[in-house]
Each structure stands twice: as C-alpha cells, then as structure tokens.
C-alpha cells in the first residue's frame, strides 16, 4: 500500500508540512482563516538538530502496536491504514506509550490524533506531500 516516506537529506526544515497538515485537518476552506493566529496541532512533526531535519508521521505499521494496545478499540487498521475514532478514545495515551516513532499525539480535545494519510478529509493525497517544496516527503508504494 502507499505510505508517506521521508528523505531527510532533502528536508529544508521549513515546517510547511506541519502547516499543510493542520490546514487539511481543520475542516476550513481558507488557509489564512484556518491558521492565522492559531497554535497549530499537526499530525506530522519536524525534528531538527545540528544540520539535520526531518518530518515524522504515522508509519502505518504492518503490525501496529498502537492498535493492539488500544484499550478502547478507538484505533483500528482498515485496508492497511491506521485510523483513530476520537469519539471512542478516552485519552489514556497507551498508544503514545506504544508507538515506536512518537507519531501519535494528543489533540486539543484530549483524544489522540494521528496521520490518516488524508483519507478522511477532503484531500486527494496527503497534504504534507503535496505541500512539501522539495519532495522530501513522498506518497508511494515501497
């Protein structure tokens, strides 16, 4: 299946992926209205160090520890992708304790959120991929 892959040698550390992610999942149609003056809570996060930067989002693991550890059944795997049903999440964060990549984060409501490959919003492909100016993030079969 197609997944999001990151090539750190091409990452500029611009953080645009974070903004595109937050916008795509805001439910709003206008980027400025969605993001202006707002503290964003993206599902992809850029890590930066000495001359290194790269984005991290859900790997949609073959054997997802988060899904198997979820005490509420809110995390499920469907056709290879891992989804979160925020209505059922009680915010225990067992998934955060289980994810080897640190890719599941609390949302503003207390339920967790994660990359769902833009399959549940209005995007045709992951917004982080579409918005990355240097092709450091791609969406493909590997």
């Amino acid at each position: 299946m197609k997944r999001v892959y990151v090539n750190e040698s091409w990452c500029l550390g611009c953080h645009l992926c974070e903004y595109y992610c937050a916008f795509a999942n805001s439910g709003k149609r206008d980027l400025v209205k969605a993001l202006k003056g707002v503290a964003i809570h993206p599902r992809i996060r850029v890590e930066e160090g000495d001359g290194v930067s790269f984005a991290v989002s859900c790997r949609h693991c073959e054997e997802p520890y988060c899904v198997k550890a979820c005490i509420s059944g809110a995390l499920t795997k469907q056709n290879g992708a891992v989804f979160i049903d925020q209505c059922r999440c009680v915010g225990c964060y067992t998934c955060i304790l289980s994810c080897p990549y640190g890719a599941i984060v609390p949302s503003e409501s207390g339920a967790v959120q994660k990359c769902e490959l833009c399959l549940k919003n209005a995007r045709a492909e992951p917004a982080c991929v579409a918005g990355c100016p240097n092709n450091a993030i791609v969406y493909e079969e590997r």
Binding site: E8, V52, K68, C92, Y93, I96, L97, S98, C99, G102
Partner: protein
C-alpha cells in the same frame, strides 16, 4: 477444525483476529462467563465517570463475532477441561469438543482475609462491567466511599467518583500510591493531584476489621463508609487448567506462542505468564496490550503460522486527576532523573540498554523509549543525552532513521 476460546476480553479478541488472518474456514466457539459483547475492560472507570457509555465501551463493533465467524456463547461459564477427550464442560451441562483450545479466563480480585469483610453490606470490586454498573447504582452524592488499595484500579475508581460522592477515603498498606508502577517522586505527584480533587489517603495502614459500614485501621483510626470497594490485587484464574493437569506456576506456564504443557491447549492474558524481556524472568503481566499480543500470537500459531511473541514488558499509561503517567519496563540499574518544565522523567539503564522509565506530566512520544526496551537497542548506537532530554528520533543514527522513515515497517 474447531477452535474453542474460554474468555472474551483482550486475549480472546487478539486470538480471534490472529487466527482469522490465516484461517477463514475453521469454526470458532467462544465461551464467556460475562454476558457482554467484548468491551474495553480498563474503560469501566471511564464509564463510571461518564466519559464513555455502553455503546462506546464495546471494544469492537457490533457484528464482530458474526464477521469473524465466531459462535459466541455469552453468559455461559466453563466448568472443566478434559484434555484427554478434548472437551470443555459448561456449568449448564453442555459438552463442547475442541481441536484447539485457548484458555483466556483472566484474573479475579484478591479477597484479603480481614475480619468482618464478608459482613460488609455494600461491598464491591472493580474488575468488570457489571462491577462498575453495580457500584454506580449503589452510590449517591451523599455516599462516603472507602477504597481499599491505592493501585491502578483503586485510583481509577477514586478518580471516577471524585466530585460525585461526599467523601472518598483510600487505604493502602504501602506508604505511597501506585507503589508497583511509580517511584516515590511519581507517587507523590499523583497523590498530590488526587488530594487536590478531594481524595483522602490513609497510607502505611491496612484494614484491621470491618463492621457492616465501618472499618478499623491498623493505625487505630476508625472510618465510617456507605460503600466499600476492594482492590488489593488480582489473582490469575488458573484453576480449570490446573485441574486438567497443566503446568502452573504463578500463572499458567506457556511458551512464546502460548502453548501450555497440555497438547493443543493454549493460554493467554492475565491467567498466563509472560517472559518479561526487561527483567529476563517469567511473570504474570496482567495488562491489556500484553493480553492482546499473547492472544494474537496463540491465534496465529493455532492457525498454523508459528508466531512467537517475545517482547513482553510491563507497560502502564493513564491519566490520574489530570496528571498523565507513562511507565514501562523494570526500574533496575543506573537511574537518570530529568525534572524539567514538562514534568518528571526518570530512565533506568543497565548493561548498555534502556531497561525502564517513568514519565509523569509530559508523556509525549514515550513509545520511542518503549521501543528501545523492546528492541534492546544498544545505548552505544544512540545519543543518550538527546534521549534523556526527550524521546526523539534525532538521537538515532541516520541509517536507522532511513529504515524507520524511508521504508515499510
């Protein structure tokens, strides 16, 4: 082929899903003492608190059994297992033949031998959905609730009731809360959070004797109560397999695929032992994620695909009165304490490996640490200073990151 499952919680669900990955044909019969659709057992405190409900507490959707071709005998208790005839006898007299059996009967509350405990009228445990519904019915805004045990179950129950009853008193023999999960600093933080929510603690004391609605503590203090909840530990339900001749230590002895010493009989979950990778010893790890993974491994193996689960470690995450904690592994070896803005962080290293950790407050990305324990990542291969600061992939080598982020995992 017929797979019979005794139990209906995490291990049973894991077994069904694991088995069906490889075998869509064979019959599955599930026997459960509880009459309910599979539910998130640890969610009963959230139910009591009003943060979930009877629809959302279901761990898998309605139709889960039908979709997986499972004949679910809910509300039926298994009475005995005959490994020679390969049958399970039910309390109601029915006999069920099996080709493979998963025994996932869970655990039950330990009832301490305390004078007068059986005379207490309004006495509860907090292990099942029915326990939660029963407790909910028996308390009002005017109730004084006594909780025996300041472990995970006792504290989640206290949290659920806080602000909804008149008083909550928690008694524990240990001198701190969550003694088996947290260190002293972590315990003090949780205790503080609980006390701000109005919970009163009586620590380093236990119940000496009970009356119908009062307790006398070993420190001489007497406390009246309207409802009592007992949560001083759990015991694995091993009896049926023990009587059938299976090897039982503290829990049922199994191999990495869940096989017991009896042919074609597997066990998983709270009733079975795990090999704790962080201590290198077999022990009962009565925890949801572990139960699912053991059940899944047994299910896949029974379907003909050897699938050992070798990465069992203790894992606990949860919020307590607004304070999040996340812990894993064993608290053994050299200790590294970081107390920053985000809260309290303590890591334990030994033999060049991360063995365990305690986080209280900021638990973000804790799974990066967990994976290091599970994978036995040599500390020589990572930048430990960066990791001690916070869990981050930056601490790994470029090559390792390419594997993590650039390929299917």
């Amino acid at each position: 082929m017929r797979l019979v499952i005794i139990g209906n919680s995490a291990a049973a669900a894991g077994c069904i899903e694991g088995f069906r990955r490889h075998d869509g044909e064979s019959e599955i019969v599930l026997i459960s003492k509880e009459p309910h659709h599979v539910y998130g057992r640890p969610l009963i405190s959230y139910l009591l608190q009003g943060k979930t409900d009877l629809a959302r507490i279901k761990w898998r959707e309605d139709g889960f059994y039908e979709k997986n071709g499972v004949t679910a005998l809910l509300g039926k208790a298994a009475k005995s297992v005959d490994p020679a005839q390969k049958t399970v006898a039910l309390e109601d007299g029915a006999i069920i033949q099996y080709d493979k059996l998963l025994y996932a009967a869970g655990s039950r509350p330990f009832v301490p031998p305390i004078e007068g405990l059986d005379r207490v009228k309004n006495r509860h445990f907090f292990m099942t959905l029915d326990d939660a519904l029963g407790l909910q019915k028996s308390v009002t805004a005017n109730s004084k609730v006594l909780i025996l045990g300041a472990g995970l179950i006792g504290l989640k129950c206290a949290e659920a009731l806080a602000g909804r009853v008149k008083a909550i008193d928690v008694v524990d023999l240990a001198d701190r809360v969550l003694p088996s999960v947290l260190d002293e600093t972590g315990s003090a933080l949780v205790r503080q959070a609980a006390e701000s929510a109005g919970v009163r603690f009586h620590l380093g004391a236990s119940a000496a004797r009970f009356g119908e609605s009062w307790v006398e503590l070993t420190n001489g203090r007497a406390l009246p109560f309207d409802a009592l909840m007992v949560a001083v530990g759990v015991r694995p339900n091993v009896e049926l397999l023990k009587e059938a001749g299976a090897q039982v230590n503290r829990g049922i002895a199994i191999d990495a695929c869940g096989r017991t010493s009896l042919p074609d009989v597997f066990a998983a979950g709270d009733c079975a032992e795990s090999f704790d990778l962080s201590t290198g010893t077999p022990r009962v790890l009565a925890l949801w994620p572990n139960a699912y993974l053991q059940g899944e491994s047994a299910g896949r193996t029974m379907a003909g695909v050897e699938a050992p689960f070798t990465k069992a470690i203790p894992l606990n995450a949860g919020g307590f009165f607004g304070l999040h904690i996340a812990t894993a592994g064993s608290y053994d070896g050299e200790s590294h304490v970081v107390q920053g803005e985000g809260g309290y962080r303590r890591l334990f290293t030994k033999d060049g490996l991360l063995k365990g950790f305690i986080l209280a407050g900021d638990v973000s990305r804790a799974g990066i640490y967990t994976a290091m324990i599970r994978n036995r990542t040599p500390l020589a291969d990572v930048d430990f200073e960066l990791l001690a600061e916070k869990p981050q992939l930056l601490a790994f080598s470029k090559q390792e990151r390419r594997r993590m982020l650039g390929g299917a995992v």
